[in-house]
Symmetry: C2
Subunit: 354 residues, 2 copies
């Protein structure tokens, strides 16, 4: 045999393949399906192995492995965070991931995850907003108009039917780029010159800022009754976006308390400050919003289960014909106990070819 | 631009590429270079981040991530262990790995590691044998003639100049296959019908058995003065190969005591039983073999630093022209803050092409 067998091959979704999937399937469909997939997996939360992420820190940044599994599928994501990368024309955050079978340990999917993480992060915010924001919400403020902003806006539009967005960034060029990128999407987009202006009339606010040193994006006086806040940018120790006083008069919802108390905005609070797990709201075990005046905060940090859901979704898409290529990744000897025999057969093939 | 930029591309060494490298470069050269690379990295042991492996256990087996890094390079290996896989024609153990830059977090190499792990495991045993066995050793017994056996034999031949091997396996077909696979290598190979027979005249013995339930491969009466033992197969909790009494009268050498006391043959001993770290022998901080009569045991379990060395070696080979292909793995927007812009450009391209 001159070609690797089926057992050797693992589907690979490249960046170009992911762009093609987004283009063909429609980014709004992708975001809406991901939101449903993530919600479904949050509802069966106890089924997951919640291993903490494994971080390797250096002066320049961090490289993390984020594994999780249920009884059928295992996934992990490799993700880096290197703030100074942009100075040399590289991404601050890049990612790739693998889905493997728990039964055999064999990889079943290898994928770029820089784009897929952007999609799943936005889909998660939108899924949470659907569960917690006032049902009548029409207008959202987006504070921080960087790499996540367009994804967040499209997800809120697709999943929650929000169609008016008020944008602010300390760099007005970021706001202009965001608006230009979303031209033709039939979404109302207003550039604002201050956070105060962006908050006017907003029933939902998403903070997705990137600067580690800019610590209080939202101050207490800006936050009125009935608001739902997605605090997405405060996602590591030393990085927060909300003033502590906002948190003290809000109901706080988190992905996984053990992780969020270290990485999220609630690192500012006492370690026993009451928070509600999202999954409990989604299954109905705990109430979400209980009054129109309540302030609800989603303190999002990103969790491995969201990547798991995203990879499950992607595997479905690939099975349905989404673009991918096959990688010859797994050594597949004729006899599993005879790995060395592969090297001999290669030599025979090479001699025949020569 | 219709092609991904250089920053998007990561070299990938497939199974076929690895077979081609082994064929072109010669497996003995590969093993000898790997032994030197692993020795060099063991000598600078304190430079490494020694994160414990992250294991996900299920009824069917285990999936592990093995990360490590120095100040320049980060590597991790994905490896599974599923004993019942052979029943359905799959490998018990498969692996792949990634080498990334600590400075940027960007992946620099993605590779199959089923074959590469077989090479590095054998190279490690041989490197240790070179350091600990009697210098006059000519003959080795190989107990367990499964997937690792040919690699172990070729590594001992290449690195230590051992040229007589006495083979035993409870399945004689495994021994026959091993001998057939090594035909033409100018190595003396003798099939033996018992462990006792295999041990006759051996100055080195390598145990590389796979069966979890077959717990005492070497009994005390079989082990004479001056022997060097590589105990490779006992590598997880509940799996050992040497009778405890052998360990009690030997000098024991390990990769990393914290890991070996859990996974290695020394799990049978008190947690404070004295062992010597290999790296200390290699740097001269501690003596290795101190007399011709001494029994030395390498209780090998496999450590992430060995994979790190193997991936460094492979990166060198790829830089020198070893076969690989480029994977479009990293999203590379024109402006790093404009990830969404990539989806727009793709649409424009698609429209132009249509």
């Amino acid at each position: 045999m001159n070609v690797p067998s089926d057992k050797a091959l693992v589907p690979f979704v490249s960046v170009e393949d992911m762009l093609a999937l987004i283009h063909r399937h429609g980014i709004r469909n992708c975001l809406a399906e991901l939101a449903d997939m993530i919600e479904a997996d949050f509802k069966r939360w106890p089924a997951f192995d919640k291993t903490p992420r494994v971080a390797s820190h250096s002066k320049a940044g961090v490289i993390e492995l984020m594994p999780t599994s249920d009884s059928v599928d295992y996934t992990f994501k490799f993700v880096n965070g290197h703030p100074s990368n942009t100075k040399v024309g590289l991404q601050t955050v890049t990612a790739f991931g693998v889905l493997a079978s728990v039964e055999t340990g064999y990889p079943e999917l290898f994928s770029e995850m820089t784009l897929l993480t952007a999609l799943r992060t936005a889909a998660t915010s939108a899924m949470v907003t659907r569960a917690l924001a006032p049902r009548t919400a029409q207008t959202a403020a987006i504070i921080g108009n960087g790499a996540q902003s367009e994804f967040q806006i499209l997800a809120l539009a697709s999943v929650c039917g929000i169609n008016e967005f008020r944008l602010f960034d300390i760099e007005s060029s970021a706001t202009r780029r965001c608006i230009a990128n979303l031209e033709g999407q039939s979404i109302g987009l207003t550039a604002c010159s201050s956070i105060e202006e962006a908050m006017q009339g907003a029933e939902v606010v998403t903070t997705c800022t990137a600067d580690k040193s800019y610590q209080t994006i939202l101050t207490d006086n800006l936050v009125g009754a009935g608001l739902h806040i997605n605090a997405i940018g405060g996602d590591c120790p030393g990085k927060t976006e909300l003033h502590r006083d906002i948190l003290l008069r809000s109901e706080i919802f988190v992905e996984y308390p053990e992780q969020t108390r270290v990485e999220g905005d609630i690192q500012q609070l006492d370690p026993d400050h009451p928070v509600t797990e999202l999954r409990q709201v989604l299954t109905g075990e705990q109430p979400g919003r209980t009054s129109v005046d309540q302030i609800t905060v989603f303190d999002g940090v990103g969790f491995a289960v969201e990547d798991f859901s995203a990879m499950r979704w992607l595997r479905e898409k690939v099975a349905q014909g989404a673009p991918s290529e096959m990688l010859d990744l797994i050594a597949d000897p004729d006899d599993p106990r005879d790995l060395f025999g592969m090297t001999k057969r290669f030599i025979h093939r090479a001699e025949q070819t020569a």
